[in-house]
């Protein structure tokens, strides 16, 4: 390998030599020593210090996934407590104050601490593998994002233990959540938590966008990237546009109203209570599509693999994803149909809310066409996909019904809406997530999940979801509003509520079965090998679990389904350094190799900055002056981080064309 000057692209075009396979025909000892060398180079060490400083996207994403699943369980326990309280009239399990905190924490946990982080984490783990990269584009920022998220998690649950959990609902309408009607710091906890987790979400989104655009394997042009990557890309753009709205509304407007007496939401001083709803739902509606679109991407991958055919209508599905992403920003007023907004304006949002069903329908029809002409293998993952059809479409239909202003005015803020939202979230996000777990667990851990337990998991989950949430439609039509801590016997809602609570027990059992499956299979599951499902994506072209460096050499991609095109050997690109962490940066559209880039090593500064941010956001609840102190301590941390990032690690002596020898930093 001749010395390469930075900026000379010629050196990176593959030399005319027979392509080297990703794994096989190099002599084993040479391959093994290359692997060990590169693995050690890309390893961040062992022990506690390595754990807090790592920048490996897989370690960070695994942490995200585990934490987000813990949040799923926590939110589920809160839901269990709610269902216990509502199982019969005047149950007396808990009083209104505790119930309000529990249902708010349930919603906040599920929406902010489980759903979005989980979908982002699946992207942070799999997008680099799917596009053939060695790491995400900004590894230290990735670590910082996780630590911010973890601080948010701890903050909310410590607050719950201290009787300080927010209690005005996960969307915290003013004036109830304003300074006069919510004394104390409960809502301040909510406002700052939202901003924290949105920072983590934004960082994940930025990383995914940059990775997808610039770090793809050579030859993986935009029309060849996997659909899951497309969905994560679309969702990341949505995050970038939507999340700032809620951060602005919650911390800056509501938080400032509560702590420093601004008047944003005070009608008596020219503010507006309805403004909160607009700002929140401008984020809130795209939020649910942010949760649901990655699920759709996962479905496409799994349907392809388990029908043994390439998906029908790749272009249509990609365009449907992008269209949904755009349209999602035009629906938010459908959460506000009961407010005094002029009717013509509301009708516009009715039309948009109905029309967004069309791209979703396109994706569903394409999947059905794929399954119809494929040869389905009924693994647990595919079962969950079939369960998705059964469940999500129910939610989609009730969504179209809710889009109608007149009908929504009857069932807005009742259990009908609770039923709808749980059908689309559980059916449209959690079900594909379970399918993705069963599909990708072998890649992440190297072992297969038990199919037998998986089928129990599936059936309990589907039955549980339907028994729990179907009766809620009837309860909503019968007049039961949301967020009531109890109800009178005379209303007649008792029997259906008891049924709903029984269904919740079934869901809990299903999740327990899943956890048992994971616990057993992690240690004693069947060994998976590189590609147990015979799938086509690049992630299956490397070991299970992948080595620290992901791919020994960058794979040259020539189609949408690389492992299905090449029978035995994958063409690769050689030339990346084995002495420094290097990634190959390619062009945005065509993925032609562009230049090599030094990837960062482990660093403590992301954690340090996250702790400074914790001081900033949490402390500012108690005193505005903390903002100054936090900025003061953040400054040296930022300086240290930048210095570490800009440090030149190696130089080389290079001969200029005029014969002069100069010392140049490695690019």
């Amino acid at each position: 390998m001749s010395a390469e000057h930075s900026g000379e692209h010629d050196a990176l075009i593959p030399a005319p030599q027979p392509p080297l396979p990703a794994r096989a025909t190099l002599p084993d000892d040479l391959l093994a020593s290359e692997h060990e060398h590169l693995d050690a180079l890309w390893s961040d060490g062992r022990g506690f210090w390595a754990w807090v400083t790592t920048v490996n996207h897989k370690s960070i994403a695994k942490r995200y996934i585990v934490t987000a699943f813990l949040m799923f369980i926590a939110g589920g326990l809160e839901a269990g407590a709610m269902r216990l309280q509502l199982s019969h009239p005047d149950a007396g399990v808990m009083g209104p104050d505790r119930y309000n905190q529990i249902f708010t924490t349930h919603g906040t946990t599920m929406m902010f601490l489980f759903a979005v982080p989980m979908m982002t984490a699946m992207g942070l783990y799999f997008v680099p593998l799917l596009v053939g990269a060695r790491n995400v584009a900004f590894p230290r920022l990735n670590a910082f994002g996780y630590w911010c998220y973890l601080v948010g998690v701890v903050f909310l649950y410590v607050s719950l233990a201290l009787n300080m959990a927010p209690d005005a609902g996960w969307f915290s309408y003013v004036p109830l959540s304003g300074p006069q009607y919510s004394p104390g710091h409960r809502i301040d906890v909510w406002a700052q938590l939202v901003t924290f987790t949105e920072i983590a979400g934004l960082i994940g989104a930025i990383n995914i966008i940059a990775t997808t655009f610039k770090l793809r394997a050579p030859g993986m042009s935009l029309n060849r990237i996997p659909i899951f990557v497309w969905s994560e890309l679309v969702v990341s753009f949505m995050i970038v546009f939507a999340l700032p709205a809620v951060a602005l509304g919650s911390t800056f407007m509501l938080g400032m109203d509560r702590t420093v007496s601004t008047q944003f939401f005070n009608p008596a001083e020219g503010g507006d209570a309805l403004l909160w709803q607009h700002i929140f739902w401008f984020f809130g509606h795209p939020e649910v599509y942010i949760i649901f679109l990655p699920g759709m991407g996962m479905i496409t991958e799994i349907v392809e693999v388990f029908s043994r055919r390439r998906v029908f209508g790749y272009t249509a599905i990609v365009l449907a994803n992008i269209t949904t992403g755009f349209f999602a920003f035009g629906l938010w007023v459908h959460h506000m149909f009961a407010t005094p907004i002029p009717e013509l304006g509301q009708s516009l949002f009715t039309a948009a809310s109905m029309v967004i069903a069309i791209p979703t329908a396109v994706q569903i029809f394409c999947w059905i066409a794929t399954l119809w002409t494929g040869r389905p293998r009924f693994t647990t993952a595919l079962l969950f996909i079939l369960g998705f059809f059964f469940t999500f479409i129910n939610g989609g239909i009730t969504g179209v019904m809710l889009a109608s202003v007149a009908f929504d005015k009857q069932v807005h803020d009742t259990f009908f809406v609770v039923a709808h939202l749980h059908y689309v979230l559980l059916g449209g996000a959690v079900t594909p997530l379970f399918a993705a777990f069963y599909f990708w667990f072998p890649k992440v851990t190297g072992r297969m999940l038990s199919e037998r337990l998986g089928k129990w998991n599936f059936w309990l989950f589907i039955i549980g979801v339907n028994v729990t949430f179907f009766p809620m439609h009837l309860l909503g039509l019968d007049g039961m509003p949301r967020r009531v801590y109890t109800y009178l016997r005379e209303t007649g809602w008792g029997p259906l509520n008891a049924l709903v609570s029984a269904g919740a027990v079934i869901i809990v059992t299903s999740v327990i079965v899943f956890l048992v499956n994971v616990a057993i299979s992690y240690r004693r599951g069947a060994l998976a090998g590189d590609n147990p499902w015979g799938s086509y994506g690049l992630e299956w072209a490397t070991a299970s679990p992948p080595a620290n460096y992901n791919f020994l050499y960058p794979v040259v991609v020539r189609s949408r389904h690389p492992l299905w095109e090449t029978a035995v050997e994958l063409p690769v690109l050689t030339g990346l350094s084995t002495e420094r962490r290097e990634v190959l940066v390619t062009t945005t559209v065509d993925a032609r190799p562009d230049h090599r880039h030094d990837d960062p090593t482990a660093s403590i500064w992301p954690l340090a900055l996250a702790l400074c941010m914790a001081v900033l956001w949490i402390g500012s609840i108690f005193s505005p002056y903390v903002v100054l102190w936090a900025l003061l301590i953040s400054t040296p941390v930022l300086i240290m981080w930048s210095r570490q990032a800009m440090r030149v690690t190696t130089t080389e002596r290079v001969q200029r064309p005029n014969g002069e020898m100069v010392e140049m930093a490695q690019a």
């Binding site: 104050d97 300080m164 104390g184 710091h185 001083e269």
Partner: protein, 190 residues
């Protein structure tokens, strides 16, 4: 993935710190109802004046049970409005009645003294509320009235209300040391 000895120590220390935190559950956020506050009647030692003969000053032992409770301060604010205290005290600025947000306390700023002022009434127009409001409500008013001049912890003070701005909210009022309450300079506390 066994934790190393060093990380195990971290985990134990973190767990201990958390349990300590949990044990001191936040008084500020409690929402109480139908309480029986202690010693509802002013104690025998509650006086209208801070001056006492003799070298030592005997302080009353009755404290405000809601002093750091934000919900109680907020309820007190609600009572202040609904019982029309503003009719004489005008949101704390005073009018027919004395100002409540300054540092001048005619009958003392200690919690039991303010309780006595509200419950027993005072000369020149302050009605006796003890036949109309129960003790919990009067303590809530005490908490709110003292917050107007910043005498309760900052976290418990009400923030701005959803009305027209008439005064700085108690959460942003600087603490004002009462001029004529508490231990007189020349005396010594026991």
């Amino acid at each position: 993935m066994r934790a190393s000895p060093r990380s195990r120590r971290f985990i134990v220390a973190g767990g201990l710190a958390t349990s300590l935190l949990l044990a001191t559950a936040c008084e500020r956020e409690q929402r109480r109802f139908a309480d029986a506050p202690p010693s509802s009647a002013p104690s025998a030692f509650t006086t209208a004046s801070a001056l006492q003969p003799g070298p030592t000053y005997i302080a009353s032992a009755v404290a405000d049970p809601y002093e750091s409770n934000a919900y109680a301060a907020s309820t007190g604010q609600q009572l202040f409005a609904s019982m029309n205290c503003s009719g004489c005290h005008s949101n704390g600025g005073g009018g027919m009645g004395p100002a409540l947000m300054d540092d001048n306390w005619i009958y003392g700023s200690d919690p039991d003294q303010v309780f006595a002022s509200i419950a027993e009434g005072r000369p020149n127009g302050m009605p006796a509320w003890k036949y109309r409001l129960n003790n919990q409500q009067i303590w809530e008013l005490v908490t709110y009235v003292r917050s107007l001049s910043g005498l309760i912890p900052k976290g418990a003070r009400p923030s701005r209300s959803d009305h027209m701005v008439v005064a700085s909210p108690p959460s942003q009022t600087p603490n004002s040391k009462p001029k004529n309450s508490g231990v007189p300079p020349a005396s010594k506390a026991p």
